[in-house]
Amino acid sequence: MENIIKTQDLMFYYSDISDEEQQEQEENAPKAEKKMIFEDLDLEIEKGSFTVILGHNGCGKSTLAKHFNAILMPCGGKVYSAGFDTSDEEKLFDIRKRVGMVFQNPDNQIVASVVEEDVAFALENMGVEQGEMRRRVDDALKAVGMYDYRLHAPSQLSGGQKQRVAIAGIIAMRPSCIVLDEPTAMLDPTGRSEVLKTVRRLNREEGITIVLITHYMDEAAQADRVVVMEEGKIILDDRPENVFSNVELLQDVGLDVPQSTQLMYMMKQNGFDADTHIINEKEAADFLFELFKRQVN
């Protein structure tokens, strides 16, 4: 399969100083003294996949996501997005058009005071012609189920609705990949499931590659692939059921596992023949049902 995003020996650290000062400092102090976020990080995201990135606070998830659409440039190594090298400034808008990004706080990413105008914002920036723009805005709003609200003010919408408008604003660009940085962190359960349903539908039906950063394990359980980060390194990278079966390792790095997996893990510790590859409620319920049936007989 083709890759949409690829990082190659990615090295990165934050510096608050300008490039010239930095060069001066580099001569004086060796590199090791800087606070590295990543040292040789290699990650490939397949086209059309649904990948979740997990990791506890401050491990560098958002920093990594910002490399995917050229908001941050690598200090060493390369990042390729949609076939372009992100350090190539000429291709900046080609990259951002193809790899969209949705952030945590829906309030801080909506620019205009009417829903449809906001969805059109990216298209206006790209200079899309008016008829085409109208069509794309309507399509994007329909794709997230917000078409009926196109004339509303964002302040009249719920958190989940606002976040879906933000997603519409990105998919209006017709990107091949959307990176979502904790899009559900500020939402109530209804809003969360609305957003997640939308994201999954976009992945399945429109074939848009999804990279989702989250702290919710039940969201991660729905992905094709889960990448677990710790201190800027990838420690696990596999299908969700395989990742979550490493209950102890995950707990060591301060992460939870889905409740069903937790249950299976505890049953296993208490001598039952339980399988920690179970990651959703339905499978867990089936397993328990079978178990009870066996006990009764």
Binding site: N69, I71, F93, R96, K97, G100, M101, F103, N105, D107, N108, Q109, I110, V111, A112, S113, V114, E116, E117, A120, F121, A122, L123, E124, N125, M126, G127, V128, E129, Q130, M133, R134, V137, A153, P154, S155, A166, G169, I170, M173
Partner: protein, 268 residues
């Protein structure tokens, strides 16, 4: 309570006034204001008022709205009219203690009241019948020619758009911070003027801090959506002007001429 503040509120409708091209509406409002200030006597002022009354009738807005728009300026009206009433020399009509009310004073203050009310209602009519976003677009387009002399027309319009978008958000946030500070024992509604002023500090500081954070995140989100200044931008909605817009403009100009002509009745 703080949520009740409305700034430039828009009342959707499909009257001819609503449908007028926003650029023309701005120009016509400006002409109306000029009209008010070029009127010297009650007859010419009456002509200007007639223009407003006609526009208002065509807009089909409820009369209540005009009264509502008047509320915040009541103190201004009272103060200016009192000043005019007491401090203009002329033929004394009533004399209470040391204060003389003159004929000229009465006339001037009445004139000022009418003029102020007309001024505010006239400009409210513009904001009541034009959505803020259209208004911003219109201002941007009208200022566009000035970009040749480096006037930041697009940036100005963008700032207005963002301000309009964030007013409700910030009001909501202020409400939240106020409740949070009250829960910590802050007394916002009592105490002397200075105490109340001091109590505002713990509200304003978090508000500022969060606004800066918001601004930073918004800038990032805009960058992610290919924002690159005003160059090469297109618009979802393009303003179009037609015959009725020119007709309205001509009517306004005719009324202005009428006002100027009626100014000859200087004795009124």
């Amino acid at each position: 309570m703080i949520k009740d503040i409305t700034i430039g509120q828009y009342f959707p409708g499909d009257s001819p006034v609503h449908k007028l091209d926003a650029r023309f509406k701005i120009v016509i409002t400006a002409i109306f204001i000029i009209m008010l200030f070029s009127a010297d006597n009650f007859i010419s002022l009456g002509a200007a008022l007639l223009f407003f009354v006609l526009s208002f009738a065509v807009s089909k807005l409820p009369l209540k709205l005009i009264l509502k728009s008047m509320r915040p300026i009541v103190p201004v009206i009272v103060i200016t009219s009192l000043l005019n009433l007491f401090f203009i020399d002329g033929v004394t009509v009533i004399s209470i203690w040391k204060i003389n009310i003159t004929q000229q004073g009465l006339r001037t203050s009445l004139f000022m009241i009418i003029r102020l009310i007309a001024l505010i209602s006239g400009s409210s009519l513009l904001t009541y019948t034009t959505s803020p976003i259209t208004l911003t677009d219109a201002i941007e387009q009208m200022l566009k020619p000035l970009e040749k002399i480096k006037f930041p027309a697009h940036e100005l319009a963008m700032m207005m758009t963002i301000a309009l978008r964030f007013i409700p958000t910030l009001i909501e946030e202020t409400d939240k911070i106020m409740s949070a500070q009250k829960a910590r024992g802050a007394e916002l509604d009592s105490g002397t003027f200075i105490e109340r002023g001091k109590a505002l500090i713990p509200i304003l500081i978090p508000l500022f801090v969060s606004s800066f954070r918001r601004a930073e995140e918004l800038a990032l989100a805009m960058e992610c959506r290919c924002y690159n200044g005003g160059e090469g931008r297109t618009k979802l909605k393009v303003l179009v002007s037609g015959g009725s817009d020119f007709a309205a403009l001509c009517t306004a100009i005719l009324f202005w001429c009428a006002v100027l002509l009626l100014n000859v009745y200087t004795y009124l």
